[in-house]
């Protein structure tokens, strides 16, 4: 307290009644929110739906809201000490309850567990996380002048972090690349790890592709998965109907997706931001509905199965014995192992993702890339400078779609089976979240976001049902906390005086 008082922050006398009233209102609102959906659970019983009550959970949620609100008020009024005492105690109690079985043995632990609010430990871990954050904030407020930063301060600080990451990217990028290259030869790299690696790289590639559209050109595309689907189906149908190999079909699938992008983009790209978002979303759904219902062409809900696996550049197959041709392990004189194919897929998607990355890095320096970024910043100014907004946007849209098509054909050949199920709106939202989380336009940000959003949940499979919930919440919190995207930092692509020199200021 002494610290902040000395700095001259005005500490109002605490109005206890007002504080309790504010917290009560919060608890009341939470009650109204919770009573319907938390308080009653609809159960499926033969012949209809029955109801079970969960009033205890409602009460706990209300109590938490009340206490939490009081803690926030205390922090706001520069009185962090009670929070600093209570929050760790609460955390400790929760942790004891959560870990009761390991601490006290199964019998008394189970007895203790009955006192646990919510029967799902995941929710409780969430509560623990909140109390820990409150404790940390209180500790911060105790030692610093102001516990909460203003939006500008926070922005400036995150901007420095973003810039730091971007500078580190020079180092981090090659480092990550090196790690990815040696990953398959690490001792811990079993099938599961590699599968997750392939999945993460797929989303990195999709994220980089969408980054061209959203990050560079500033066009919010909510139907990106449509082009992914076009690529996947183009490849799958070519491969199964006409027996075309992966390497021949790949450019064609990209071309088809790119064409789809240009065709769909042409009529709608003059729309403003949020209209464009909704229309692209509509297109995404339309393509899914068509895939679902055009039975004779796409197989409808049954999808396309028996999609051939990629061969080793057409030279060898990844199977134990190949009737007419060479097997990969024979070609290199290795023992047969099924993991060879996965390693090959891993390197394949790594190479494809890198192509997208290099392409993006280079095209940003070309006039067209500069035009994209200029268009994102100010369309009217661009128009008056003689940039054709529609064609410029169309190239971004088409190129982004093409990369989605490449990723789609990789997806098809990896799965061996595709159906419209894989191309729902959620998929678009996930890719968008990766771009947003990474900070629009940041290449390294996409990688970090993909690892966090795709990789981590794969390792915690039992949290699967909470994944999308956390996902939506993360999107909201990140936007509230930093509307420009987490690692957003816009390095000027062109400087008047070179990188390190500063222009002299004439006063």
């Amino acid at each position: 307290m002494a610290v902040s008082a000395a700095e001259g922050i005005d500490i109002r006398p605490l109005n206890l009644a007002a504080m309790v009233r504010e917290a009560s209102i919060t608890a009341l609102v939470v009650f109204a929110l919770a009573i319907g959906l938390v308080g009653f659970e609809t159960l499926d019983v033969p012949g209809g739906v029955a109801i079970r009550t969960r009033f205890a959970d409602v009460a706990v949620v209300m109590a938490l809201a009340f206490v939490g609100r009081i803690a926030l008020i205390l922090l706001r009024e520069h009185r962090p000490r009670p929070v600093l005492i209570v929050a760790p105690i609460l955390t400790a109690i929760m942790l004891v309850l959560l870990l009761s079985e390991t601490i006290f043995g199964s019998e008394s632990g189970a007895a203790l567990k009955r006192f646990m609010p919510f029967h799902d430990p995941v929710v409780l871990w969430g509560v623990v996380a909140v109390t820990v954050i409150l404790a940390v904030r209180a500790a911060y407020a105790q030692t610093h002048v102001s516990s909460s930063l203003t939006l500008e301060e926070r922005d400036a600080r995150m901007d420095r972090i973003g810039a730091g990451v971007q500078r580190a990217a020079r180092l981090l990028g090659p480092l990550l690349l090196g790690a990815a290259i040696v990953l398959p030869f690490m001792p811990f790299a079993d099938r599961r790890v590699l599968d997750i690696g392939v999945l993460v790289l797929m989303y990195v590639m999709l994220g980089w592709g969408l980054n061209i559209v959203v990050g560079l050109a500033g066009l919010l595309d909510l139907g990106y998965v449509a082009f992914y689907a076009v690529g996947a189906y183009s490849f799958a149908l070519l491969a199964t109907q006409f027996d075309v190999s992966f390497w021949v079909a790949l450019p064609f699938a990209g071309l088809m997706a790119g064409t789809a992008g240009v065709l769909l983009g042409f009529p709608v790209l003059r729309l403003r931001g949020d209209y464009l978002a909704i229309v692209t979303l509509g297109f995404g759904e339309m393509i899914r509905v068509i895939l679902l219902n055009w039975y004779s062409f796409t197989g409808g809900p049954d999808g396309v199965s028996g999609i051939p696996r990629p061969s080793f550049f057409g030279l060898a197959e990844f199977s134990r014995s190949v009737p007419d041709g060479t097997a990969f392990h024979e070609m290199f004189g290795l023992e047969y192992a099924s993991i060879h194919r996965i390693i090959f897929l891993f390197y394949l998607i790594l190479a494809m993702a890198l192509v997208v990355n290099v392409f993006t890095m280079r095209i940003r320096k070309l006039p067209i890339g500069r035009a994209w970024e200029a268009l994102r910043e100010d369309e009217t100014a661009c128009r008056s400078l003689g940039i054709n907004p529609r064609n410029t946007k169309l190239t971004a849209f088409g190129i982004g779609a093409m990369f989605a098509g490449f990723a789609g054909s990789f997806f098809a050949t990896r799965q061996g089976f595709i159906s419209p199920e894989s191309f729902t709106f959620i998929e678009s939202a996930v890719i968008l979240a990766i771009v947003v989380l990474g900070g629009f336009g940041s290449q390294i940000g996409v990688v970090i976001a993909a690892v966090v959003l795709i990789g981590l949940p794969e390792f915690f499979r039992d949290l699967q049902q909470y994944r999308m919930l956390a996902f939506g919440m993360a999107m909201v919190l990140i936007m509230l906390w930093r509307p420009a995207g987490l690692l957003a930092h816009r390095e000027p692509t062109l400087r008047l005086f070179g990188r390190d020199k500063k222009p002299e200021t004439n006063s």
């Binding site: 209809g48 500033g218 009529p267 909470y466 939506g472 936007m479």
Partner: protein
């Protein structure tokens, strides 16, 4: 059969019913867009929550022994509107208010995040299974007959259409005649100026969300009554279609939203009736694209002048 007038009439009635539901949701989109210029993507989820609160209230009333249908309907209506309105209020307060001065994309992405969150929130709490409900209102009147093809107007459809008209009248009165409505129109024109002349802008925006959510919950109740089955995913498609309706009618215009809703409902009903039922969603989206290309301001919208 498809050429008869009776068949046409049947589709017309279906379309009007469906359109009423879309229209009620569309009003929420259009009001929010009018006042803060953002697409409240989570509005479809509010509609879905309204439907869930309704089914829970119905089940509770059934357990409590309330069997007189009109009373049950009124209780469910009041409960659903109240609880869902609080969801609308919280949504604005927690997720949108801090972003009011941020770039539009940030608000839109927050709304998408909120939509994903609410969907999974309901899925976790109420399971992903379909929730069927016994029909509450049954029976109807025969309105037309042609060569043995009977066209009937069920009491359910009557309730839906009458309730929609009633709500529209109440709603229009609120907007045109009350202080709140005047404040809303003032905020729509110029928020800063409205604040200068003493309009409580925060409160007005909050109330806009409350009203939109209440209407969406009525739509949710109607959806539940009409189809008899709901799940946590209904908000997505209904939300997009209602947004299409709002754009079709001219976003920002209240009569436009209702008109757009009715048109989308009719298009969907006639498309299903005369072409294929599978592509009815494609039809709705195509309309959205066509409207945006040829008449971006919608049917009843005012032209939007871009200032530099």
């Amino acid at each position: 059969m498809q050429n008869s007038f009776a068949y046409f009439l049947d589709q017309l009635i279906n379309g009007l019913t469906l359109g009423s539901i879309y229209g009620l949701i569309a009003i929420g989109y259009t009001m929010v867009y009018g006042i803060i210029g953002m697409i409240n993507f989570a509005h479809g989820e509010i509609f879905m929550i309204g439907a869930f609160v309704s089914i829970i209230t119905f089940l509770l009333l059934g357990m409590a022994g309330v069997t007189w249908v009109p009373l049950a309907l009124i209780i469910v209506l009041v409960v659903a509107m109240t609880l869902t309105a609080i969801y609308g209020w919280t949504l604005e307060r927690v997720a949108y208010r801090p972003l009011r001065r941020s770039p539009r994309l940030a608000a839109l992405i927050t709304a998408i995040g909120m939509s994903i969150f609410l969907q999974n929130y309901v899925q976790l709490l109420q399971s992903a299974r379909n929730k069927p409900m016994q029909p509450v209102v049954s029976g109807g009147v025969q309105v037309f007959e042609q060569q043995g093809y009977v066209v009937s107007l069920s009491f359910m459809q009557m309730i839906i259409i009458v309730l929609t008209v009633l709500l529209m009248i109440i709603f229009t009165t609120v907007i045109v005649r009350t202080t709140l409505g005047r404040a809303q129109r003032a905020c729509e024109q110029d928020r800063d100026m409205a604040a200068l002349i003493g309009v409580n802008v925060d409160r007005t925006i909050s109330l806009t969300f409350v009203m939109g959510a209440a209407l969406a919950s009525v739509a949710g109740l109607m959806f539940l009554l009409y189809y008899g089955v709901i799940d946590f995913y209904i908000g997505f498609l209904a939300g997009i279609k209602a947004f299409t309706a709002a754009v079709l009618g001219g976003i920002g215009s209240l009569p436009g939203a209702m008109l757009g809703g009715i048109l989308i409902g009719l298009i969907e009903a006639f498309w299903s009736g005369y072409f294929t039922v599978e592509y009815k969603d494609v039809a709705a989206f195509s309309i959205l694209v066509l409207v945006l290309i040829f008449r971006p301001t919608g049917l009843l919208g005012k032209p939007d002048i871009e200032k530099v």
